[in-house]
Amino acid sequence: MEREFIITIFSENKVGILSQVTTVFTHRNVNIESIAASPSAIEGIHKYTIAVKNDPERVANLVKQIEKKVDVLKVFCYSPSEVVMQQLALYKVKRSRNVEELVRRHNVRILEIHDEYIVLEKTGHKAELDELYQILAPYGIYQFVSSGQVAIIKSRRELLDEYLKYVNEKRDRILSETK
C-alpha cells in the first residue's frame, strides 16, 4: 500500500552526493515527488529533503541503501504527521480584475506586477498549492514552478545530534585504541 514519506538525508558537503543519492532511487525504481537541498544547522553537513509515495517496506529498504553510501551520514524517514512541512510555489498569471480579487481571498503574495501578467507566491502544503493552481488555471497561467517540500521534525529530540555524539565517541575509542 502506497503512503507518503519524508526522507531527510544528512551528508558530508561534497561534490556529487546528490547524484549518489538519486542513483539509489533510479536503481530501485522509486519516483521522487520532490527534493530540496540546503545546508543543515550543523556546519559542514548538508541536508536533503525528499518526498516519496511508495509502500513502507520499499521505502525502508531505500533508506538503508542511501545510508550505505559512504559520504552519507544518516538518513531519517518520517510520515507527514511527524513533521512540519512547507512548500513554495510561484505562479505567473495573466492580469485581470478577477485574479486580483482571488489574490486577496487566498492569502497569496504578489511579487511582481506587470502590464500583462502578475507573479504570485504561495507557501503551504502541497495540496493548497495545487488547489490554487486549479483556481488560477482558467485565468491563464503562463508559468508555474514549485520548490521541493522542506520539513522539520516535531520531536524534541535532535536525532542527528545524538547520532553525531555516538560517532564521536566511537572515534575517540578508536583513536585511544591505536595510541
Binding site: S11, E12, G16, S19, Q20, T23, H27, G44, E57, A60, N61, K64, Q65, E67, K68, K69, V70, D71, V72, L73, L164, V167, K170, R171, I174, L175, T178, K179
Partner: protein, 577 residues
C-alpha cells in the same frame, strides 16, 4: 576543506616531509598499504604513474594484462585467495570504461579492490578532451565509493580512504580517478592510514537482545539449518563457524561463494544451496523450522521464490550490511555486526546439542542424489567424456588445489564435484555471473598463492571471452592449469533452450577455433583428451608439467546440469531430471 578529506588518522609526530610528484605519491601510498602486486595497463593519462612505478619495480610486482576488464578480475582472484585488497591501475577513457564489468562483479561479490584511473588534466575536465569520460558518474553504481583527485597533495589521503573503505565492513571496489596534473604536481608525502570516517560506520554494534533471541530460537529448534555465505570467509570466521556448528550440532549448507569455508568432508556439511545446488539442502528447506543465515544475502539463485523460502522456518540473519536485512527475506532475528564477533557470542550461550537424526535425513537425500545423479555423472561410461568425471578426476589428482571457474555448466559441475579442504579455495563469479571471469581470476589467484595449484574450469564460450590473457600467462609465467570443457555450445543457455524452449537452439552452437593452435600461439603446453581411458593420464601430465597447461576436454555436447530448481519456483521443487 584543505586536504579534501577531514578523516581522522592516527596522530603522527611532526617530521621533515619529502617532496615528490603525485605519481610517486601513488606508488608510495601503495607500499605504505603493504601492496605487493598491481594489475594494470598503461595509457596517456596514467603515464606519469607508470613512470614513477619504473623506479619501484623491485618492490612492486606489476602484471601487464591484455584488457583492463581482466586487470580487475585478476585483482579479484588475487584478493579472494589472499584476503588482501586487489589493486589496479588503468588509463582514462577506454581504459577506464573497460573496467566497468570487473567493478560490477567485485561489487556484487563483495571483493575489495582499489582501482586508480588516470584522468585528463583538471583544466580539460568537461571539455570532451581526448580520452575524457566522466568516470565518476559511470562508476557511481558499480563501486562502493569513488572520488576524483585534482591536486597532488590530496593523493595520499584519497588512497588511504580508498583502502579503508574497500577492505572494511562489507568489502567492495573503489575508484580513485586522478587527473594528469595531479599526477605531475609536487606534494609533501605523508601517509596516514585511515581508521575512521564519520559518515561511514562499517561495523554495527552487536545488539545483545538479538543475540539472546537467536540463542533462544536455536535452543528450541528441532530442525535447524545453517546457511553459510562468503561473509564467513570475508570475516575470517571459519574457526568461529566450526565451533558454532560443532557445539550446536546443526547441519550446514553453503552458498556458491561460501564454499570451502567449511571442508567438504565435514560431518555436518550437507551441500550447496541454490538453483543448481545439491538436492538435500533444497528439498529440506520446507521442513526446516529454523534457518540461520551466516554472512549470506539471499540471492535469488539461492532462494528461488523468496515467499516460499523457509516457509515453515524462523530466520536468524547474521549480517554485516544493514541494507541486506529484510531486503529479500524477512529476518525474525537480525543480528547485525561482524560475524567474527557475533557468532562466538551465540556459540558461548547455546546448549550443546545433537541433531544427528535430522542430519540423517539429509544423508538420505544425498544418497538419492548420489545414485541418481552423481555416480552416473562421474562414471567413466558412454561414448563421450562428461564434465562431472573430469572435475572428479582433477579434484582427486590435485589434492587441495584452488578451484577457479568461469560461468555456465562447467561452473556448476566444478563447484559441486570439487572437494575443498581449506578456506579461500574457490574463486567464481556469483552475483554477476560474468563469462570471461575465469581465466584472469585464475591468473590473480595463482599470483596470490604461488605455492598452491590453481585449477581453472572454463567453457569453450567463456574462454573465448578473455582468451587474450593467455598472453599474460606467458609473459608473466603464471602456472595455472586450465581445464577447457569443450562442449561446442554455450551449454548453460542451451540447457535452458532444451528444457524450457522446445530445444530451439537459437545461436548457442559454437564453431570453435583450434584450441591447440591457440595454446601453441601463446606458448602454453597443451593436450586434448576425448576418451575416458586417457583422462587420468592427461591430468597427470598436466600436473607434472611445470607451469601453465591447457587441457582441452572434448565433452558430451548436450549434457544437462541436475538437480535444478526451475527459475522462480520454490527451492523444494528441485528437479532431479
Amino acid at each position: 576543506m584543505n586536504s579534501g578529506f577531514s578523516d581522522i588518522t592516527a596522530a603522527q609526530p611532526a617530521k621533515e616531509l619529502p617532496r615528490i610528484t603525485g605519481s610517486e605519491a601513488v606508488i608510495r601510498s601503495f607500499i605504505a598499504e603493504g601492496v605487493e602486486t598491481i594489475f594494470g595497463y598503461p595509457g596517456g593519462a596514467i603515464i606519469p604513474v607508470y613512470n614513477a612505478l619504473y623506479d619501484y619495480r623491485d618492490r612492486l610486482n606489476h602484471i601487464l594484462v591484455r584488457h583492463e576488464q581482466c586487470a580487475i578480475h585478476a585483482a579479484q582472484g588475487y584478493a579472494r585467495v589472499t584476503g588482501k585488497t586487489g589493486v589496479c591501475i588503468v588509463t582514462s577513457g577506454p581504459g577506464a570504461t573497460n573496467t566497468v564489468t570487473g567493478l560490477a562483479d567485485a561489487l556484487l561479490d563483495s571483493t575489495p579492490i582499489v582501482l586508480i584511473s588516470g584522468q585528463v588534466a583538471s583544466s580539460q575536465l568537461g571539455t570532451d578532451a581526448f580520452q575524457e569520460i566522466n568516470f565518476i558518474e559511470i562508476t557511481q553504481s558499480v563501486t562502493k565509493w569513488n572520488c576524483q583527485v585534482k591536486r597532488a597533495e590530496d593523493i595520499p589521503a584519497a588512497i588511504a580512504r580508498a583502502f579503508y573503505i574497500a577492505s572494511s565492513g562489507r568489502p567492495g571496489p573503489v575508484v580513485v580517478d586522478i587527473t594528469k596534473d595531479a599526477q605531475n604536481g609536487l606534494t609533501n608525502f605523508d601517509y596516514n592510514p585511515i581508521k575512521f570516517i564519520r559518515s561511514y560506520q562499517p561495523y554495527a554494534d552487536i545488539c545483545s537482545d538479538q543475540i539472546l533471541e537467536a540463542v533462544r530460537l536455536i535452543n528450541l529448534s528441532r530442525k535447524p539449518m545453517a546457511l553459510v555465505g562468503q561473509g564467513v570467509i570475508l570475516a575470517n570466521a571459519e574457526q568461529e563457524l566450526k565451533e558454532f556448528l560443532e557445539k550446536s550440532g546443526i547441519p550446514a549448507a553453503s552458498t556458491l561463494l561460501g564454499l570451502s569455508a567449511l571442508p567438504s568432508d565435514h560431518p555436518q556439511y550437507v551441500g550447496m544451496l541454490g538453483m543448481h545446488g545439491n538436492y538435500g539442502p533444497n528439498i529440506k528447506n520446507r521442513d526446516c523450522d529454523l534457518l540461520i543465515a551466516i554472512g549470506m544475502r539471499f540471492d535469488d539463485r539461492v532462494t528461488g521464490d523468496p515467499s516460499k523460502f523457509g516457509i515453515n522456518a524462523k530466520i536468524i540473519h547474521l549480517e554485516i550490511d544493514p541494507a541486506e536485512i529484510n531486503k529479500i527475506v524477512y529476518a525474525d532475528v537480525p543480528v547485525l555486526g561482524n560475524i567474527k564477533e557475533s557468532l562466538p557470542m551465540i556459540t558461548e550461550r547455546i546448549s550443546q546439542n545433537d541433531h544427528s537424526e535430522w542430519i540423517d535425513e539429509f544423508r538420505v537425500c544425498a544418497n538419492i542424489e548420489r545414485e541418481d545423479i552423481i555416480d552416473p555423472a562421474i562414471e567413466r561410461r558412454g561414448a563421450h567424456l562428461r564434465m562431472g568425471e573430469v572435475v572428479d578426476a582433477v579434484s582427486k589428482e590435485f589434492d587441495d588445489a584452488i578451484l577457479v571457474t568461469d560461468v555456465g555448466q562447467q561452473q556448476m559441475f566444478a563447484s559441486k564435484y570439487f572437494k575443498f579442504k581449506r578456506s579461500r579455495s574457490i574463486i567464481t563469479s556469483g552475483g554477476l555471473g560474468t563469462m570471461g571471469f575465469g581465466l584472469p581470476a585464475a591468473i590473480g589467484a595463482k599470483i596470490g598463492a604461488p605455492e598452491r595449484d590453481v585449477c581453472l574450469f572454463v567453457g569453450d564460450g567463456g574462454l573465448q571471452m578473455t582468451s587474450q590473457e593467455l598472453g599474460t600467462i606467458y609473459q608473466s609465467q603464471v602456472g595455472v592449469k586450465i581445464i577447457l570443457m569443450n562442449n561446442g555450445y554455450l551449454g548453460m543457455v542451451r540447457q535452458w533452450q532444451e528444457l524450457f524452449y522446445d530445444k530451439r537452439y537459437s545461436f548457442t552452437e559454437l564453431v570453435n577455433p583450434d584450441f591447440e593452435l591457440l595454446a601453441k600461439a601463446n606458448r602454453i603446453a597443451y593436450r586434448c583428451v576425448e576418451r575416458h581411458e586417457d583422462l587420468d593420464d592427461a591430468i597427470r601430465e598436466m600436473h607434472s608439467t611445470e607451469g601453465a597447461f591447457l587441457l582441452e576436454c572434448r565433452v558430451e555436447k548436450e549434457e544437462n546440469v541436475f538437480p535444478m530448481v526451475p527459475a522462480g519456483a520454490p527451492v523444494h521443487d528441485i528437479r532431479l531430471e
